[in-house]
Amino acid sequence: MMGQDHFDIIVVGGGHAGIEAVAAADRLGKRVALVTPDISRIGVMSCNPAIGGLAKGHMVREIDVLGGVMGLAADACCIQFKRLNASKGPAVRGTRMQEDKDLYARFMLNYLRALPNVTLIQGEVKAVILEGTRCVGVVLHDGAQIRSRAVVLTTGTFMNAIMYTGLKGEEGGRAGEKATKGLSDQLRSLGFDVRRLKTGTPARLDRNSIRWEILEPQKGDDRFYPFSFRSPKQVQLPQVLCYISRTTPETHDIIRKNLHLSPMFQGIIEGVGPRYCPSIEDKVTRFSDRDSHLTFLEPEGLNTNSIYLQGISTSLPAEIQDQFLRTIPGLENVNVLRYGYAVEYDFIVPTQIFHSLETRYIKNLFLAGQINGTSGYEEAAAQGILAGINAVRAIENKPPFILTRDQAYMAVLVDDLVTKGTNEPYRMLTSRAEHRLVLREDNTLDRLGEISIKEGLVSADLMELILSHRQKRERLLMELGTHKLTPKQWVQEMLVAKGSTPLLKAVTYEEILRRPEISWQDLYDLGWNEGLYEPDIAEAVEIEVKYSGYIRRQNELIAQMKRYEEMLLPENLDYSLVRGLSKEEVEKLSTVRPRTLAQASRISGVNPSAIQCLMVYLKMLGKRNYEGSREQCI
């Protein structure tokens, strides 16, 4: 296929970022090629067998409303469902699903194969082809060139990757898969700041060698809520149990005695690992006062014997892993299918990309996923979908598609990356979002539905669903506000039994629900029988009633910020010419090159007075095109 095939967009890498990028571009009608070394490994989950979790689950829903694939696949292959934080406030609940890994990857492959505009190409990309400062294609391992108008790189943990099980590292990006070479060296030679990060994974165990009978089982939730608004409302696969065990003082002893064999502790791996995924070596040294750490045994699928050992990621030599694993109750005779390992890889410092995920130095070249210093399937997929959309916009000469921090977790993710960069693999957390109360799972459709339709990412039929949800919420709110609960004897007793206080007079159900100790479910016990509502409708209304004051406060704050979000800073602004900025501020602003005044204010070390100076400078430049550019920030 020497130079013949011409695609609109080439996506490099068939991981979670790559899949969403390809699918998004396809939805927008572009001819896309996905190039990846092994087509049968598309959509492989490198690490834990789960999708979602706090903040991550939120992103899966956001991806879904933008027409993405991740939610559909996760729903279809779910083998255990859990709503995290079910006992906490409704605003911080998150969905997590355990997946059958093989089925998940197969779902992805089949999905991509069915897309009309997609070509799957097996091959390793060695370099991108440039025309001036524009990217126009890629070169494969065999020297073949494929041309396109834009390229999205989603190479994950593979570039110049070295895997470690013990002190001796060997090249490889993931167990059984080779590292990829050439691409990151080319990017470095083009002037990109390329650095190293590392991550690790625990051992996989043979199901048949574990003494299940002595372990404590853990069940999923009975009620299932799919990620996707397009999925059936029931699980599609049999559900499985997980089991809990703990490390023992003997485990810790063995690990401590062998720290000199851990590449991390010997300084052989220089890349920084994530603090929220420390290896067991890390845990044992940093929290030396604890003589036990929890571990979860999670099946990796229905038809596999592979058990994932959550919590015990390690890069110690195989024989040491054998030794210490067998000190964990239930694993006395364990048979390891694959030893834990650490992987160190190249990533591109993300302050070098725009919010559109396009690189600053090379036009029409986009980066998404772990290559930008993130970690996690959901983080990767979120970037992938945005990169796919923006690659399409770039070749259509349209302004980029950029969401704001009050609209989506994905936007928080991207804004953090391009504004602050990262020193460790970046994972999404709800505490990273200053507007956490308005970024919820239950209101994802409301937040992004209309935008998605307008963008052409989902069919306009979705509007009906959005409107019907809205109507149902309004109706329920109205009913709660009109129906009253009277202080009858049984009502008073029930209230007291629920840890609440008796009524002084008749009050509406809305007022009752406003009480912190009363949940939506409690209303049924208190005689509420105004019809059944879908759980997400009820939940949204409950939140609205309970937290209206706080939500209003957050909305006010968002409105205040909006003005500054809409004040664009020229891309080529010479900060050294702006009067009143300190040297440090000029430096920081010149590196990050914030897109808006609001983003500038989020850079640490840039003071409020600097923002004033920038505003004055902008006005002096006679930049009156804020209105014109507003469309860019939807």
Partner: protein
């Protein structure tokens, strides 16, 4: 939260716009929607209709105790006619730092905040009140004031005050780390602090904030006034001076030594601060009179509870300095006044514990009163922080008070079993307030703390 919220143009901002320090009349400017209402509150305005640009003479009230602390002119401006192009008010209080500070403090209590450097001019610019050439000038202002403020910030940061604040900051970061870890790492089965523990931590920070707020010297003077003791040997003129200061015949004056027995007390306002004066029985060791003895004892007791002692001595009689020697070990400033100068000069040595010594011809004269008031002002009113630090001070106090309010709300919510995600909002706000005073910006402190305190991972 971003720093940019500080630039909100709809906040009411206030600041001293005349050079800080002592001056006859100061100008305090207030700008932003709601300024008029704020001014009405502080002046207890009533129903009278406000005519813009007209000058009114009004009392300025401390809304906590309802007492006026100064009287001055006030002018209201509408959007179109003000400097900033926004609804504005100008106060013209007396030019002492204490009064100005008090006025700014009251304004901040009622919802205003201290303006950032150049913010008035900046608003004027945004609202089209200045042209581009003048805008250059704005930059100058911001530039120079930022430098000044940065210096100020450093000075403040070095103080003990900020050490203490950093400690509180750390404690709040820890509270948040536990709350956030509990939310974000639901899967990890972390042992985060119990509700009781969190409640205790928050309460402890609130209590410490209370102490800091009360402990501020300035705060104490404003609340409790300054206490001044007049003492000397019998017949030296204490009572004469007291009556002169108070402008009324409160104490009996007579040529008989030992007229005053019990403590006689009276007070006056100087620049908005209340000064209390205590006239006491003349001190003599060999008093045979039992009642006089009790009076002397009372006088001696008072020496330990006042802020300043005037030692009044008549150089024309023999002074037994030994009787006042105990003043050496006292931690209270002493000022010596030699009286009866009208009766002729007489050289006497001055005691070394005396801060300063002054000669007075006639204790009944206006000059005598002016001298005493001048000395008191110098000692208590003009020594307050100068220039921008004055504003920083008010700024800080208001911010700390806000921090405490948010913590109170947080504890209240916890008692009502409201979710952590809501409580953490209040704690965060409290933290922002403290970090604002410290000149720090909120970054990833909480995450850092989570990862250092909890064992999280797969």
């Amino acid at each position: 939260m971003s720093q940019i919220t500080k630039l909100r143009e709809h906040d009411v901002i206030c600041a001293l716009s005349t050079p800080a320090g002592v001056s006859g009349i100061a100008v305090v400017r207030v700008s932003g929607p709601g300024s008029w209402e704020l001014a009405r509150t502080i002046t207890k305005w009533g129903e009278q209709e406000i005519v813009p640009r007209q000058t009114y003479l009004r009392w300025f009230y401390d809304l906590e105790d309802g007492e006026p602390f100064d009287q001055g002119l006030i002018v209201f401006y509408q959007d179109k006619s003000s400097y900033t192009g926004q609804e504005s008010v100008e106060f013209f209080p007396h030019g002492s730092p204490v009064i100005v500070e008090r006025l700014l403090f009251q304004l901040c209590q009622k919802g205003a905040r201290i303006a950032e450097p150049g913010e008035f001019t900046f608003r004027a610019f945004l609202n089209g009140r200045l042209d581009l050439v003048q805008a250059e000038g704005v930059l100058h202002v911001i530039e120079s004031q930022s430098v000044e403020q940065a210096k100020q910030g450093l000075r403040h940061l070095r103080g003990v005050y900020s050490q203490k604040l950093s400690m509180l900051e750390q404690q709040l970061v820890r509270v948040l780390a536990h709350m956030e870890a509990d939310i974000d790492f639901a899967l990890e089965n972390l042992t985060t602090a119990s509700q009781e523990q969190l409640r205790e931590w928050m309460t402890s920070v609130a209590v410490q904030l209370d102490e800091m707020l009360q402990g501020a010297q300035k705060g104490r003077i404003l609340k409790e006034g300054v206490h001044v003791l007049l003492m000397g040997p019998p017949n030296s003129g204490n009572s004469t001076l007291l009556n002169n200061i108070l402008g009324e015949e409160k104490a009996i004056v007579s040529p008989i030594a030992g007229t005053t027995r019990d403590v006689i007390e009276g007070s006056i306002l100087i620049e908005g601060v209340r000064f209390y004066f205590y006239d006491t029985a003349g001190i003599r060791q060999n008093s045979s009179d039992e009642i006089e003895g009790v009076g002397i004892k009372k006088a001696l007791d008072l020496t330990r509870r006042v802020d300043l002692i005037f030692l009044i001595l008549n150089p024309h009689v023999d002074i037994h300095f030994s009787e006042f020697h105990f003043l050496t070990d006292l931690n209270v400033p002493v000022i010596t006044l030699f009286t009866h100068r009208d009766l002729g000069e007489r050289r006497v040595s001055t005691p070394e514990y005396s801060l300063s010594t002054h000669w007075i011809s006639n204790l009944k004269s206006d000059e005598a009163k002016a001298l005493v008031v001048g000395l008191l002002k110098e000692q208590f009113l003009t020594r307050c922080p100068r220039d921008l630090s004055l504003m920083v001070h008010v700024h800080q106090e208001a911010a700390l008070q806000k921090a405490r309010e948010h913590l109170k709300v947080a504890v209240g919510l916890m008692d009502q079993h409201v979710g952590t995600e809501i409580i953490s909002l209040e704690v965060r706000e409290a933290l922002y307030c403290i970090q604002k005073v410290l000149g720090k910006h909120f970054d990833d402190d909480i995450l850092d703390q989570i990862f250092s305190e909890f064992c999280i991972g797969k």
